[in-house]
């Protein structure tokens, strides 16, 4: 393994740099991504290296950012747009859901739409309800989008590179609580879109979890292992499309399914996974599947409230115990 130690945010910058180096048609646009290096420091060094034409600061205009990325993609470029906070996707939602996602279909396949949209998502840092949502579920109901939720430096590096090379629109949600996370990254490595990873093997129960919840589920798995319960943890890495093949194969082995997510339950990827397994692999289940989700409220600001809003390690352990005992 020739990996180098990087933080998650450094892995983002490296992926962008590597793709801009590899393809002169790749360029970045977004608010404060240029000389400022990005509000999350994910584009540090790119402006100096690639210049203002390829690392392009924009006004605070999310609709224009996404729409311009679409127009540039239709005319031969490969734009990587940053929307800063995932919550701001709401401002640009028409461009994402109605224009970008549907362009290829409505035109009868006349063009490819190689647009990557990066955004920082997720709770845990006290940003309150308008700057903390994971937001991935907003896009699940829109055919024509690929949605990635990387949890590690290696995954964000590999998925982002794949996204930029992809001829379809891809949303890459970078979890802002993970930006300082360290890990090994293999330069040149790719992670295929739509492929889940079994991050811990086990026989008792299948736990599907992404981003922060993957890390908490792994910690929960360590604790439960001491109790003799061996959990299989699967990171979907892409929530649209979901790698149901890997998930179902695991459920066929364990007979039990728990999804853990940092978002409310209704209309979510976790609910989608469970619905799919119930409809198509009911015979594989020895117990009712469970969804451990965030509360059905906006995300509160105060630390003790926000901590409890999303599944804690404790809640995950409890939920898995219940599912295992069923």
């Amino acid at each position: 393994m020739s990996g180098i130690p990087l933080t998650y945010r450094e892995a983002v910058a490296l992926a962008l740099a590597d793709e801009m180096e590899a393809d002169p048609d790749v360029f970045c646009l977004g608010e404060d991504i240029g000389a400022a290096g990005g509000v999350f420091k994910t584009t540090v060094g790119l402006f100096e290296r690639f210049g203002p034409d390829r690392v392009r600061d924009t006004p605070i205009s999310e609709q224009a950012i996404v729409g311009a990325a679409l127009g540039a993609a239709l005319t031969g470029l490969r734009p990587v747009a940053e929307l800063m906070f995932a919550d701001f996707a709401g401002v640009g939602f028409d461009q994402i859901a109605n224009q970008l996602a549907k362009y290829r279909y409505m035109s009868g396949g006349q063009a490819t739409v190689p647009v990557t949209i990066r955004m920082a998502c997720g709770a845990g840092l006290g940003f309150a309800a308008q700057h903390s949502q994971t937001a991935e579920n907003w896009f699940l109901n829109v055919p024509g989008l690929i949605v990635c939720v990387p949890a590690t430096p290696a995954d964000v590096y590999g998925l982002l590179r794949s996204a930029i090379r992809e001829d379809n629109p891809v949303i890459v949600l970078e979890h802002k609580a993970l930006y300082a996370e360290k890990g090994e990254v293999e330069p040149g490595g790719m992670v295929s879109l739509g492929v889940a990873e079994i991050v811990r093997e086990g026989s008792a129960i299948t736990v599907v979890a992404a981003q922060q919840m993957r890390h908490r589920s792994l910690a929960a798995a360590d604790r439960l292992s001491e109790e003799g319960v061996q959990i299989e943890v699967i990171d979907p890495r892409t929530v649209s499309p979901l790698d149901m093949e890997t998930i179902v194969a695991s459920v066929r082995k364990t007979g039990r399914l728990v999804c853990v997510q940092e978002s409310p339950a209704a209309g979510s990827w976790g609910a989608t996974v469970i619905a799919w397994v119930v409809q198509h692999a009911f015979d594989a289940l020895d117990a009712p599947p469970a969804l451990i989700a965030s509360d059905d409220t906006p995300i509160p600001y105060a630390g003790p409230l926000e901590d409890l809003w999303m599944p804690t390690e404790e809640r995950i352990v409890e939920g898995i115990r219940r599912a295992a005992a069923h």
Partner: protein, 327 residues
């Protein structure tokens, strides 16, 4: 009204006649779509372009291969003016397999990427940022291409208009924003929704060049867009053009346009762009009144015959509905 400092190159008589024919084709096409609609052959809704032909034809007469165009759900005229084949356009409106978009887009989404027609956008104002992106590509690649967006007066009150004009201005993009002020945003007269009379003035907020032009005067539109295109090609930034015109029909097929004041339609019919251009052609000795009448009849015949042919085209293969969601 503003007078452009540059005039587009003089057109040969045959070119003038070509532009006239294009307007006649659009008029006959829209009349035919309306007729088919009333026969329940066209699904959903249609937004017709009769009365505004000089804007699309005049503006697109300036565009070259490599230039791009976006338009709106009232886009049949713009799409035909930029060179999309009439039969495949009507085929799309009729949901046919050989329609421009294979029957997946319909009347509001006519698109012909190979001809630089990046699409008809059915969300008001949504095409303006896309035009910025296409114009950015031209700058990025160092070509002298321009990108032109058609939109209605109603779009000047939606956020994308302001975001796109601002972006185009700060990046000095070769974008041409052509606002077709047809006096009504859907059912509402412009004065009830917009506090200024001269929409071209909105360019001032973006330090952008602007012009107001008689949108029923084909050659005036052409000169104005020519000047804007030259500005864009020279790297001198975008232009907002307000073309004053009139929507001779209602907003969509369910709208009889009963809100129009008495006499308004009649006054505008006297300024019908086709009638006005026939006068120009007569004055310049390009064609006689009889020749023009014959041409009009000939085009109407052609469109009717084309329509008959297209109506017999096959429907899309049912499995095609799963295609083109992703590559």
């Amino acid at each position: 009204m503003s007078t452009p400092e540059l005039a587009a190159p003089e057109l040969a008589p045959s070119d003038l006649l070509g532009l006239h024919r294009r307007m006649l084709e659009i008029r006959a096409f829209e009349d035919e779509v309306q007729r088919l609609f009333l026969q329940n052959v066209v699904r959903g809704s249609t937004h017709l372009y009769q009365g505004q032909e000089a804007v699309a034809v005049g503006a697109c007469s300036v565009l070259r291969a490599g230039d791009t165009m976006t338009c709106t759900y009232r886009g049949h005229g713009a799409v035909l003016a930029k060179g999309a084949p009439a039969d495949r356009s009507l085929g799309e409106i009729l949901g046919k397999a050989d329609g421009l978009c294979g029957g997946k887009g319909g009347s509001m989404h006519l698109t012909d990427v190979a001809r630089g027609i990046l699409g008809s956008f059915a969300i008001v104002g949504a095409n303006l940022p896309v035009t910025c992106g296409a114009a950015l590509s031209a700058r990025y690649k160092g070509t002298d291409a321009v990108s032109l967006a058609f939109f209605g007066d109603g779009a000047t009150n939606i956020g994308t208009f302001h975001e796109a004009l601002n972006l185009a201005a700060i990046w000095r993009l070769p974008a041409i924003f052509v606002c077709e002020n047809n006096l009504y945003g859907e059912y509402s007269p412009i004065a009830s929704t917009t506090p200024i009379e001269r929409l071209a003035d909105r360019a001032t907020s973006y330090a952008m060049a602007s012009a107001q032009v008689d949108g029923n005067d084909l050659l005036a539109v052409r000169d104005t867009v020519w000047e804007a295109a030259e500005r864009g090609r020279a790297g001198e930034g975008p232009t907002l053009i307000e073309a004053l015109t009139y929507r001779q029909r209602g907003h969509s097929r369910t709208d009889p346009a009963a809100y129009r004041p008495n006499g308004e339609l009649e006054r505008w019919l006297e300024r019908d762009p086709i009638v006005l251009f026939e006068r120009v052609l007569g004055e310049r000795g390009v064609a006689t009144r009889d020749e023009l009448a014959a041409l009009r009849g000939e085009v109407e015949q052609e469109i009717r015959a084309m329509s008959e042919r297209v109506r017999a085209w096959p429907d899309p293969d049912l499995e095609s509905r799963f295609e083109d969601v992703l590559v």
